[in-house]
């Protein structure tokens, strides 16, 4: 028998620190498979966020830098502008990207920087212990919204993919869910497409992934997977929101 499914070469053998059932591992694998597929591992530099995924450099076999909280798109901009031959990807959580780093993501997207941003949205601050995120759903209890997110005091959850898709500068914007095998395979396809856009100099690519945080949701892995379908997807619809066929670059 031959292996038909193995860990991508882009990832090493370390045991990941993520909690049981956390979606980061699957997203890491999909990114790793994309780096393998396009044979770009040895010319890729990743930008790690502040949050649970800050330790991603312990798992990827490519060069990685750690950016200040929310600044990965700016760091990625500085990198891609100075070495356009390298493949640059930023990996960010919802607090990092949609809260403290909102200006950085919007402007990197608007400039059409030829980088790939992987956005992991689990509707909560994971590493700091489950506080309210800009993507926390209305009514969702977190350690800083103990009575549930309140529309009157906290506002609505932000839909990043839709927001970025409105910018002329973005080339590829999609949202997928890391829950069922079918949805994970769709996410894989989009992540591949996002890296392909960069390889082909097509401009800014962005994939948002709805993932679980069983620990901070106070749920089992199974319940968390169900929550994605029952609560997250109705508010954060899945799909490819934008896909340019031709690059804006002259």
């Amino acid at each position: 028998m031959k292996p038909v499914f193995s860990k991508p070469k882009a990832l090493n053998d370390a045991v990941m620190h993520y909690c049981p059932g956390c979606g980061h591992g699957v997203v890491h694998r999909l990114v790793g498979e994309a780096l393998d597929h396009f044979d770009i591992l040895d010319r890729t530099v990743g930008v790690a966020p502040v949050g649970c995924a800050v330790l991603m450099y312990d798992y990827f076999n490519c060069d990685i830098i750690e950016a200040p909280h929310g600044r990965p798109p700016a760091v990625a901009t500085g990198m891609k502008r100075s070495r356009p031959d390298l493949i640059i990807f930023a990996y960010q959580g919802d607090g990092d990207l949609a809260s403290i780093g909102l200006a950085e993501i919007v402007h990197a997207a608007n400039r059409g920087e030829n980088v790939t941003v992987i956005f992991v949205n689990n509707t909560v601050y994971g590493m700091t212990g489950g506080q309210m995120a800009p993507t926390t759903l209305l009514g969702q209890q977190t350690t800083t919204s103990p009575y549930g997110r309140n529309l009157n005091t906290d506002g609505y959850p932000i839909r990043m993919a839709e927001m970025l898709a409105t910018l002329e500068g973005t080339s590829y914007v999609a949202r997928h869910a890391i829950d069922t095998p079918a949805n994970i395979l769709r996410a894989r396809k989009s992540i591949f497409r996002a890296f392909e856009m960069q390889v082909k100099d097509m401009g800014f690519s962005f994939v948002e992934l709805l993932t679980t945080c069983p620990t901070n949701w106070g749920m089992s892995s199974r319940e968390s997977i169900r929550r994605i379908k029952e609560e997250l997807i109705p508010y954060f619809p899945l799909g490819v929101f934008k896909e340019k066929e031709v690059a804006d670059y002259i």
Binding site: D63, I64, I65, A67, R71
Partner: protein
Amino acid sequence: MSSGKRILVKGNDAIGMGAIKAGCRFYFGYPITPQNEIPEFMSRELPKIGGEFVQAESELASINMVLGASALGVRSMTSSSSPGISLMQEGLSYMAGQELPAVVINVVRCGPGLGGIAASQGDYFQAVKGGGHGDYHLIVLAPASVQEMYDHTILAFDLADRYRNPAMVLADAILGQMQEPIVEREEEVQEPRKPWALTGAKGRPARHIKSLLLKEGELESHNRLLQEKYREVQKHEIRYNELEVEDAELVVAAFGTSARIARTAVSKARSEGLKVGLFRPVTLFPFPGERLRVLSARVKNFLVVEMNTGQMVEDVRLNVSGDASVFFYGRPGGAIPTPMEVYERIVKHYKEQ
């Protein structure tokens, strides 16, 4: 060596010229008065020589773009003025922790807050004591002429690379806006190899640049290494200028624009027979404290002149011997001390001996 051809240049433009001479091809910045000529110069000149100019969305973004470019091993820089530099402190702390070189220009204006656009030296503490969170230092150069705006920018790139540490040129609105003749450097600037840079892990293990050190004792060791590096900087990179200190009974200590003003006052005092000298720190970090200590074995009166309410004066007091008197004259909030005011202070304290 140079042909000696003098050209008339504005201070801010001299910084851009120095940066390009130093091999900087990547500039990231956000507009703020009184340094706008720097991004304007870079946006005009860099595309001509294969460089990149990005007008960032904020100073937060600027410094992080510099962080990214620097991590790949290229020379890059940003410039701003006081309120913008405050926003950069986060990135500067990360870069110091990650040991990334870069050059940051601060054309200081007056504060606190939005303050005003006139010249000030109110950012001395922020520049030389770290500025952001954690135990770290920037290398800080204090030009006092347009020629030095050019020279110090080149030097800042060299020192930043040599010590893998951000370097700041601490100028001010007067130095940025005034025009003076300068002579451009002719010999090529040598850039060191950067075996630590992220270049893609082709043919080598993956490399990581980080400042999060969670293993027991790891961060303490890292901090000790950083301090060791700062001691090396203090050992090798102290620069200062002196004028007539040999027989001086009173020494005026001032940096940057204040030193220019003080120089006129010192000359006037000398012409009237007062034994007065001038001591100008060129590097603010490393601070030439040892030289002050040596001087203070003989000179017992120091007058520190600053365009603030007294910042460098603290470092002077820390370094001179216990029986020396340190007087201070400063004007904050964009007010500029006149040579006459400084002269009067010299006379007053000279007589108090």
